[in-house]
């Protein structure tokens, strides 16, 4: 026993350069990740800056009751979850279709060019995407009001003031910016499928659709399930930029553009309502944690190798 301990200490001592290398990263993780984790307690405080956050009085669950008494809570949870559901379904469906199309196309140059181009939107910052959306939707000079709607004989719409079309707009924008990413993920598993499966199927007289239904999809099943489950684990998070900047933070659109992330930001920095903001944030963090752990447990059941932990 004692010699084991001594051995361990000697090993630890010998490894000091390795520990030294870890120090900067550990410091960063503490500052950037671990301190804020303890900081979630702020949701149970009635923050009073004059005495400092630590000394502010406890507030119990009053921040939460205050938050859930308002209709803000309903709107932002509904929007976050519904948008995510639409994004997950359509994003994966389109991604899969594009991946299959990429694989079918035999011209190498065309295939490579297509891959390069469909990834471009994924590289653009949300600000650039907002510029592009603005070029389409801006009331006076926008492409929609000046070119598209006149062709369809429709009246111009003041897009940034009407909430109804935004679920469609945001879904389209999301698909536009993410399709390259999802399809390339699927494509990389698709090209890994053993070609002899198809050859054998063709010899047996399988049609194209039979090949897709009996070989391609079953081989992709694992990847599809994992991507779906990982996405479900993040269902209470949203892309802040997509819901805040793309609709130009227009107050008239809250009904269809407010998500938990935009609410937390607005309550914290625009309305200075730390209580409600931190309550919503904590709710999101805890729910997110539970969802990630449960979905991971499910992934483990499906396929141990692909689980996150």
């Amino acid at each position: 026993m004692r010699s084991d301990k001594k051995k361990l200490i000697r090993r630890i001592r010998k490894c000091w350069p390795l520990y030294l290398m870890l120090v900067p990263g550990i410091v960063y993780l503490i500052i950037n990740n671990y301190l804020p984790m303890f900081g979630v307690l702020i949701a149970f405080k009635k923050v009073d800056y004059s005495v400092g956050i630590l000394k502010s009085p406890w507030a119990g669950f009053s921040n939460f009751t205050y938050l859930f008494a308002s209709k803000d809570a309903y709107i932002m949870f509904r929007n976050t979850i519904l948008y995510n559901a639409a994004f997950i379904l359509l994003g994966n469906l389109f991604g899969l279709i594009v991946a299959i199309a990429l694989e079918t196309v035999r011209k190498r140059f065309f295939r490579n060019a297509a891959q390069v181009i469909i990834l471009i939107p994924y590289l653009l910052s949300t600000i650039i995407i907002s510029y592009i959306v603005y070029a389409f939707l801006n009331e006076q000079n926008g492409f929609m009001n000046n070119t598209v709607l006149p062709i369809l004989h429709m009246d111009p719409v003041s897009w940034y003031n009407v909430p109804a079309p935004w679920p469609v707009i945001l879904t389209v924008v999301y698909l536009w910016m993410s399709i390259g990413y999802t399809s390339i993920l699927y494509y990389s598993t698709l090209i890994g499928i053993d070609k002899t499966f198809y050859e054998a199927a063709v010899v047996d007289g399988a049609s194209l659709w039979q090949q897709i239904a009996r070989i391609t999809l079953p081989c992709m099943k694992k990847t599809i399930i994992i991507l779906l489950i990982l996405a479900v684990g993040r269902i209470c998070y949203s892309d802040f930029g997509l819901f805040y900047q793309v609709p130009m933070h227009s107050g008239l659109l809250y009904k269809t553009t407010q998500t938990i992330d935009t609410f937390v930001y607005r309550a914290l920095l625009e309305q200075n309502s730390i209580g409600r903001s931190s309550a919503a944030g904590l709710f999101q963090s805890v729910l997110g944690f539970i969802l990630v752990v449960t979905t991971n447990a499910v992934v483990r059941k499906v396929d141990k190798e692909s689980s996150l932990f």
């Binding site: 900067p24 900081g39 944030g281």
Partner: protein, 295 residues
């Protein structure tokens, strides 16, 4: 799939061509608008094929606005220091984790990994950085929060070292009397160039496109804004003015930054990313495919 059905293959081509067009057209609209003359923009709005085109917007951007150049320089400084620090931190964290003999490896891995499961969210993070570290309105606020070390990247780097850098080579270096630092610098890093390149590219795009740090942490010192925050401000002020006009509030239209110039600004803002992208497309795709599913 194997098929002789010409129709099916043709359909796939048509589908992909439509998709390519859909990906390019919005981007094209942005570029075309930046070359359109001001008069044309006022009369016909943004269009895909401007009837009158010139370089006025770019000339103006070059000559008149110091703000743009400044923000551009800031972005370069922020992305440059950010990428360098980030790669250093990532490599330094990944190498020890790849050594099987390191006591406590499991605990440290979990310490890293747990940050991917649970995070405090915006409010506590904001409070820590502004109240405890007083990062508000400083250059550090543009570099440090959130972006400096990504646990995913550390895990990618570690996996790369364990599977692509032969253990024997490192051990041979250690036996020859090189310390861990020397073996990291002279053996591991040269052999990990491809993954370091991929991570640097992802990190560069992350920094160049970041604007949330500016929104959260910069209030008064707008001179610290990078190009993204600069562009955000221009876009916001334009739409505010146009709303007032739409609501019949009298605003002098000459106050509006020219519409073409705005779009030229956006084109200049994406330029570095678009220029870098074709050269690194392969490693970018690699970064996506190994980073997301396998982890």
């Amino acid at each position: 799939m194997i098929t002789k059905s010409r129709l099916f293959i043709a359909l796939q081509y048509v589908f992909l061509i439509c998709l390519i067009i859909a990906c390019i057209v919005p981007f094209w609209l942005l570029i075309a608008s930046s070359f359109t003359t001001e008069r044309e923009l006022i009369e016909h709005g943004y269009s895909l094929f401007p009837r009158e085109a010139n370089l006025d917007a770019y000339r103006y951007l070059m000559a008149a606005s110091k703000g743009v150049l400044r923000a551009y320089m800031m972005s370069i400084i922020i992305a440059g220091t950010g990428v360098l620090t980030s790669i250093t931190l990532t490599v330094l964290f990944a190498y020890p984790l790849s050594r099987q003999y390191l006591p406590g490896k499991q605990i440290i891995s979990f310490f890293l990994f747990f940050t991917m499961l649970f995070n405090g969210g915006l409010v506590p993070t904001y409070m820590i950085y502004t109240r405890l570290f007083h990062l508000k309105d400083s250059l550090f606020a543009m570099i440090i929060p959130g972006l400096l070390m990504n646990p995913f990247n550390v895990i990618m780097m570690r996996t790369y070292i364990t599977s692509n850098v032969a253990n024997e080579v490192i051990e041979a270096a250690l036996i020859d009397g090189a310390g861990e630092f020397k073996s990291l610098i002279h053996v591991v890093i040269p052999l990990s160039k491809p993954i370091i390149g991929t991570l640097a590219l992802m990190s560069f795009i992350g920094y160049w496109n970041n604007w949330t740090n500016g929104v959260y942490y910069i209030q008064k010192r707008t001179d610290l804004y990078g190009i993204q925050n600069y562009m955000k401000n221009v876009l916001d002020s334009v739409s505010a003015l146009q709303n007032q006009i739409a609501n019949g509030v009298g605003v002098d239209v000459t106050d509006l930054p020219s519409m073409g110039i705005r779009m030229a600004l956006a084109v200049v803002g994406v330029l570095p990313v678009i220029l870098v992208y074709p050269f690194f497309q392969k490693s970018f795709v690699k970064g996506i495919t190994i980073g997301s599913v396998k982890g």
